[in-house]
């Protein structure tokens, strides 16, 4: 029933994806009510989630393609192997 801070923050992380069970939520909330450190973690964790949410399209997923030269290079390497 009693969680360590490590276990509580792990549930807190899982909770960011809404994948905790009802029982896990209950245990987590009891811990957060009693533990200031984890309470602060929980609050800041939520901010981190929002940051990722906001910035995931701009910075974190860059458009990335193979260049024509790179493709040409792979093609050449592959052709060598085909002809072996």
């Amino acid at each position: 029933m009693k969680l360590t801070c490590d276990e509580a923050t792990a549930l807190c992380d899982k909770n960011q994806y809404n994948e905790t069970t009802l029982w896990e939520k209950v245990k987590l909330n009891i811990h957060l009510f009693l533990c200031k450190k984890c309470g602060l973690y929980s609050k800041q964790n939520h901010v981190v989630t929002k940051c990722v949410e906001i910035h995931k399209d701009s910075k974190l997923i860059k458009e990335d393609f193979l260049s024509e030269e790179e493709k040409e290079h792979i093609k050449e390497e592959l052709e060598i192997k085909i002809n072996q």
């Binding site: 360590t4 801070c5 490590d6 276990e7 923050t9 792990a10 992380d13 899982k14 960011q16 994806y17 994948e19 450190k37 602060l40 973690y41 800041q44 964790n45 901010v47 981190v48 989630t49 929002k50 940051c51 990722v52 906001i54 910035h55 995931k56 701009s58 910075k59 974190l60 997923i61 990335d64 393609f65 193979l66 790179e70 493709k71 792979i74 093609k75 390497e77 592959l78 052709e79 192997k81 085909i82």
Partner: protein, 189 residues
């Protein structure tokens, strides 16, 4: 397509027909350009070697993706087995009387409220990206698949051949390190 019309492989056309698709699939998982490129190239080589095993039941692309998935698992196993140097920074005691308690210097401290309100700031995006890049590769990979690409837990577990409790431990360690990194690089000033 009629069942009698068996699919055939045409390796000389693989790069033109499938390289972009395979690269796109790979980059959303490993997020390093050169590594993704190498994995795609390896996939073509492995496919060529195994071409006699192709039975023509699936399309050429489906068959290549199956091989690519193996290559991604191999890569994940490789980064997962590099011990020591790629470990995440621990925030909690892992043994002794204080097991599971916060390590003093990792305890969250209050953030500057004003800065907290400005999370749309572009520079914060840069700081966040840097903190994610600082994570050991396997943690960054799982964190990104779950949080940015938003794959289902089950899907990631299947793809990387890990258990869900494994996945949540990785996410937990990634997020504790990430929170601390963001505290130091952004929210404390």
């Amino acid at each position: 397509m009629p069942l009698t019309n068996k699919q055939k492989l045409n390796p000389t056309k693989w790069v033109i027909l499938h390289a972009d698709y395979l690269f796109n699939y790979t980059i959303s998982r490993v997020s390093n350009h050169d590594i993704a490129k190498d994995i795609v190239q390896d996939t073509f080589f492995a496919a060529l070697k195994a071409k006699d095993n192709f039975q023509g039941k699936a399309s050429e692309r489906t068959w290549l993706i199956a091989i690519l998935k193996r290559k991604i698992i191999d890569y994940y196993r490789k980064i997962n087995s590099v011990k020591g140097k790629a470990e995440v920074k621990m925030s909690f005691y892992t043994d002794g009387d204080r097991e599971g308690e916060w390590i003093e210097e990792c305890v969250p401290t209050n953030w500057n409220n004003e800065i907290e309100k400005s999370i749309e700031n572009d520079e914060l995006g840069v700081a966040l990206e840097k903190c994610i890049e600082d994570l050991p590769e396997k943690y960054a990979m799982v964190f990104k698949m779950k949080t940015i690409q938003q794959f289902e837990t089950e899907e990631i577990c299947k793809e990387l051949e890990i258990t869900s409790s494994n996945l949540w431990v990785i996410i937990h360690r990634a997020r504790t390190q990430l929170r601390k990194c963001m505290e130091e690089s952004w929210f404390k000033n």
